[in-house]
């Protein structure tokens, strides 16, 4: 037995009112009038007032009624004992399907965790998938095998998830299930979220009204939160090469209020340990660790830093590609590779030096002899190139896509080594507007432009491996994608993209160039880029930058981004705000992505956020939800009780005395 609103029991003090009424309005002796007391004064008597209550039965009835009313408001419910209660309480398991779950083993860990949750309980469990939109994978009535099958077939999506909306969805689902099963509305329910707990996935705005009777648990998979080996108060802030390209600088920052001492910093080159240094960092301070490196003559090397020996991962930004000490090599695939097209497209590229190495053969790709691969015709693309691995190691792939079939083919090509997952998403294929007739020259034009801007450095405008660098907007549709994969970039250009847009809106050219310059300057570690006059940077640290917002007025803002921001380049993640005012070619970012939210989210922070949301929906009396919401009829009862009390008060005022009750008023002390 429990009470949903135990604080409401204080209302039981209201029983003092009827008691007072029965005391104060008991019949008083009005005084029998006699003509004269001349003969009676001598027999005056001592009297003792009797505090006897009037109409005890009525009083008891009223007090009982009041107590019952209070008890009803307090929301009593019967808790089934032990496992019965747990077995009856429905539960919802939410599995995070955001793009960040594709990193490392997070998805498999999440699936395993969710599977164990589904197997461990006999209660009614529903399964939700949380991405940008919440998907109901299995309802409450599904069997265990159906739930496990749905879990096995689920995949992460290249979207940013909104766990707040998913939790909200789960709460609504629980409420709906309770209604359908005729269970108590405030019956405890449990929501378990299996997630890697990215800050961007938890929008506080969507957690405004969490019912208090729902318990929310979180199973964290992947990342530093799970590993437990990395001290939470120390983090790698940045990795960069000095100008001589022989010294690696790793900035370690202590974000905690405690000093960190005797910590170890591990540096790895490729799969081999490179250096290990001890360091101590004061609270709130940063420390730069320098490590001498040597560039390989023939291939790029990935440098990774970690604060624990087992914490090297592809999914974080604690990595840097050390370019080989040679001219960048461009590999070609398809017709362009055999003809003279590439000569016009890439011949003018001078900065930095880029040479055309010829056809991108599997050996060249595998041995990392190429830095950039241009796929002009996907019909000729080979599936044995292991392009995913190539991109992961810092390579850049530029692909020409002139049809949905080409897009799917590109996916297969990139998937040939099974590393690229589900990118680009199928929904993006339909968004492409392809003009086959002008495809080639437009691509060449785009390639020329990009090449003149140093496309050999890759088109990544960002240093974040998980972020897309560019979302090109054409007639309201995504026409070009640049997506980071591992340490490299994949560029997919729709054929009608660059040239058509530039033809219609020539002012776009300097904007695009400025954008690219910003990215290239950042990558080169040169903060003083020429486009600075049209760029407002909130941070002087270029490695922190940069979602880019383009407007007709130019590059207006470079938004500081945290390392955990996961925002794949698909429509819906980037949304145009105020569509009627925004030009079709504009870039835009979600307005709800703010700097304050771009922070790693720890379990305590998550729980605090959830508790705050639950608390905000909880009334001041400590109840689980507003009584007005849960007991709409209760206010009518309050109204009726008030009217009854007033009527009682009026009747007591109108009939204050009754001569026949005199014996209750006075007792004679003989």
């Amino acid at each position: 037995m429990g009470l949903a609103f135990p604080a409401l029991l204080l209302a039981a003090l209201a029983v003092a009112v009827p008691v007072w009424v029965h005391l104060a309005f008991r019949p008083h002796a009005a005084g029998r009038i006699l003509p004269s007391l001349m003969f009676l004064k001598a027999v005056e008597l001592k009297v003792r007032r009797n505090r006897q209550l009037r109409d005890r039965a009525l009083l008891i009835w009223r007090v009982l009624l009041l107590l019952l009313l209070v008890a009803a408001f307090a929301g009593p419910f019967v808790e089934l004992s032990g496992s019965d209660s747990a077995a009856r309480a429905p539960a919802v398991v939410i599995i995070d399907q955001s793009a960040s779950m594709t990193v490392g083993d997070r998805w498999s860990e999440a699936v395993a965790s969710a599977r164990s949750l589904l197997r461990a309980t006999d209660r009614q469990v529903a399964l939700l998938g949380a991405a940008h939109q919440t998907v109901e994978l299995t309802p409450f009535g599904a069997s265990r095998s159906e739930r496990l099958a749905a879990l096995a077939s689920a995949e992460p999506r290249m979207e940013r998830s909104d766990l707040g909306a998913a939790i909200q969805h789960a709460a609504a689902w629980l409420a709906r299930h309770a209604r359908e099963q005729q269970l108590p509305a405030n019956m405890p329910g449990q929501v378990t979220v299996v997630t890697d707990l990215q800050a961007s996935a938890l929008s506080q705005a969507s957690l405004r009204a969490l019912p208090g009777h729902i318990q929310i648990d979180v199973e964290v998979v992947g990342g530093p939160v799970r590993s437990g080996t990395r001290q939470p108060n120390l983090g790698i802030e940045s990795m960069r090469m000095r100008g001589d390209s022989t010294t690696l600088e790793v900035t370690v920052r202590n974000t905690d209020s405690r000093d960190a001492s005797d910590r170890e910093l591990f540096i790895q080159a490729g799969d081999h340990p490179l250096a290990q240094q001890s360091l101590s960092v004061s609270a709130g301070a940063s420390r730069v660790v320098t490590v001498p490196v040597t560039r390989a003559p023939d291939r790029a090397v990935v440098l990774r830093a970690a604060l624990a020996p087992d914490d090297f991962s592809y999914d974080d930004t604690n990595a840097l590609v050390l370019a080989p000490a040679r001219t960048r090599q461009l590999g070609l695939l398809g017709a362009g590779a055999l003809g003279s097209v590439h000569q016009s497209a890439f011949g003018s590229i001078q900065k930095p030096p880029l040479s055309v190495a010829g056809e991108a053969t599997p050996d060249r790709v595998r041995n990392r002899q190429l830095d950039l691969i241009y796929i002009e015709d996907l019909q000729d693309a080979r599936t044995d190139l292991a392009l995913g691995e190539f991109v992961d190691s810092g390579g850049v792939v530029i692909a020409l896509v002139d049809s949905a079939a080409d897009f799917a083919r590109l996916r297969r090509t990139l998937d040939s080594d099974g590393e690229t997952g589900a990118w680009p998403p199928a929904t993006a294929v339909d968004a492409l507007r392809i003009d086959p007739d002008s495809a080639l020259p437009q691509l060449h034009e785009a390639a020329r432009i990009l090449g003149s801007l140093g496309a050999s450095h890759g088109l990544g405008f960002t240093t974040d491996a998980e972020r897309p660098a560019l979302l090109y907007w054409n007639d309201g549709r995504a026409a070009a994608f640049v997506r980071s994969q591992g340490q490299g970039r994949i560029v997919v250009l729709g054929l009608s993209s660059v040239r058509g847009v530039l033809a219609r809106r020539p002012e776009l050219a300097p904007i695009l160039q400025a954008l690219l310059r910003v990215a290239l300057d950042e990558e080169a570690g040169r903060p003083n880029y020429t486009a600075g006059e049209i760029v407002e940077r909130p941070s002087s640290n270029p490695t922190d930058a940069d979602l880019v917002l383009l407007t007709p007025g130019g590059v207006q803002r470079v938004v500081r981004a945290g390392r955990d921001l996961v925002a794949p380049a698909v429509p819906g993640v980037y949304t145009v705000t105020g569509a009627e005012q925004v030009e079709p070619w504009q870039f835009a970012v979600r307005p709800d992505i703010r700097e304050s939210q771009l922070e790693p989210l720890t379990r305590p922070a998550f729980e605090k956020l959830v508790d705050a949301a639950a608390e905000s929906s909880r009334p001041a009396n400590g109840g689980a939800a507003a009584p007005r919401d849960r007991y709409p009829w209760a206010w009518w009862l309050v109204f009726l009780a008030t009217v009854a009390a007033l009527a009682e008060l009026l009747s007591a005022l109108r009939c204050p005395s009754a001569a026949t009750e005199m014996r209750n008023e006075v007792q004679v002390d003989a």
Partner: protein, 307 residues
């Protein structure tokens, strides 16, 4: 019909409570006086007058000038001629209308009873061609109508409009009233006389000093002689507002004795001053009370009559 009511009906009397339901005091007075007459032989005040009344046997001490010698010549016995007394006196009814007079437990208040009594006196006076007046007093003279030979409706309206309120101070009221009465009169005072006998004597002293003949009707409600409730509680003095707790059972043990002592004290004190005092409660029919009064008064007149 109770035994008392049956006896009263047989005697032609009407219960005061029944009479109290009649609004017009004049009708009440006629009824009462008619009832009174039916219960007694018509007689008149015997005394010196020009209207022959009867012969009676001569007894030593009689005035020999009243011997009817003609009868003696026929019968050889001495008879004395008596004559119907002719009176033309003033009758003044003074009714106590203090708050205590408003008490009732038997259907008629003491005030109503007193007013009916006064009206009866008015009716009797009118029948005897006497001048009749009335006054309502409590601590002062509330209303006054001086005696006059011909009565109009104003007197009855004054009596009918009387209300029981105020406290009693007969001393002040009667002193003030004495100044208003120029001629000697038969004064009929009706009151519950809640005052010590000495105070009562002091109150009527001015009237007696002026030579007025005083008849006092002391009336009480039956409930004043024995409390008719048993629950202990608060009782309040109707005139002073004083409230005291009271156990009626205990009070009744001594109340009757004290009332009787009070009545005896009044009777002794007033009779000693040649005041006609009579006590009765409001349950006593008016006619019976009047009859007793008349009879008592006739006896007194006979005693006082010159022989």
């Amino acid at each position: 019909m109770s035994g008392t009511q049956r006896r009263n009906a047989a005697a032609g009397l009407v219960e005061p409570a029944v009479l109290a339901q009649v609004d017009r005091l004049e009708l009440v007075a006629r009824q009462v006086v008619a009832g009174m007459m039916s219960g007694m032989h018509r007689s008149s005040t015997v005394g010196a007058s020009t209207e022959f009344a009867e012969h009676r046997m001569y007894t030593p001490g009689d005035d020999i000038r009243r011997i009817d010698w003609r009868v003696y010549g026929r019968t050889d016995r001495l008879f004395v001629k008596t004559f119907q007394a002719e009176t033309n006196m003033d009758v003044m009814a003074i009714v106590d209308c203090s708050a205590s007079m408003g008490f009732e437990t038997g259907g008629v208040t003491k005030l109503r009873y007193a007013l009916m009594l006064a009206a009866c006196f008015g009716h009797l006076a009118d029948a005897q061609r006497d001048r009749f007046g009335a006054a309502l007093v409590n601590e002062q003279v509330v209303s006054l109508r001086r005696p006059r030979a011909v009565q109009d409706e104003g007197l009855m309206r004054m009596l009918e409009s009387a209300q029981a309120n105020g406290s009693t101070n007969l001393g002040l009221a009667l002193e003030a009233l004495t100044d208003q009465l120029k001629r000697r009169a038969l004064i009929v005072l009706v009151s519950d006389l809640y005052m010590p006998p000495q105070d009562a004597v002091s109150a009527i002293a001015p009237l007696l000093e002026r030579g007025h003949e005083l008849s006092i009707f002391h009336i009480l409600d039956p409930g004043e002689q024995e409390l008719d409730f048993a629950e202990a509680g608060i009782v309040e003095d109707s005139e002073t507002g004083v409230r005291i707790p009271l156990d009626p059972v205990a009070a009744n043990r001594m109340l009757r004795t004290r009332v009787e002592q009070h009545i005896r004290g009044l009777e002794q004190a007033l009779t000693a001053r040649r005041v006609d005092y009579s006590f009765g409660d409001t349950a006593v029919p008016l006619a019976e009370r009047l009859r007793h009064y008349v009879a008592r008064r006739r006896r007194a007149q006979v005693k006082q009559a010159p022989r």
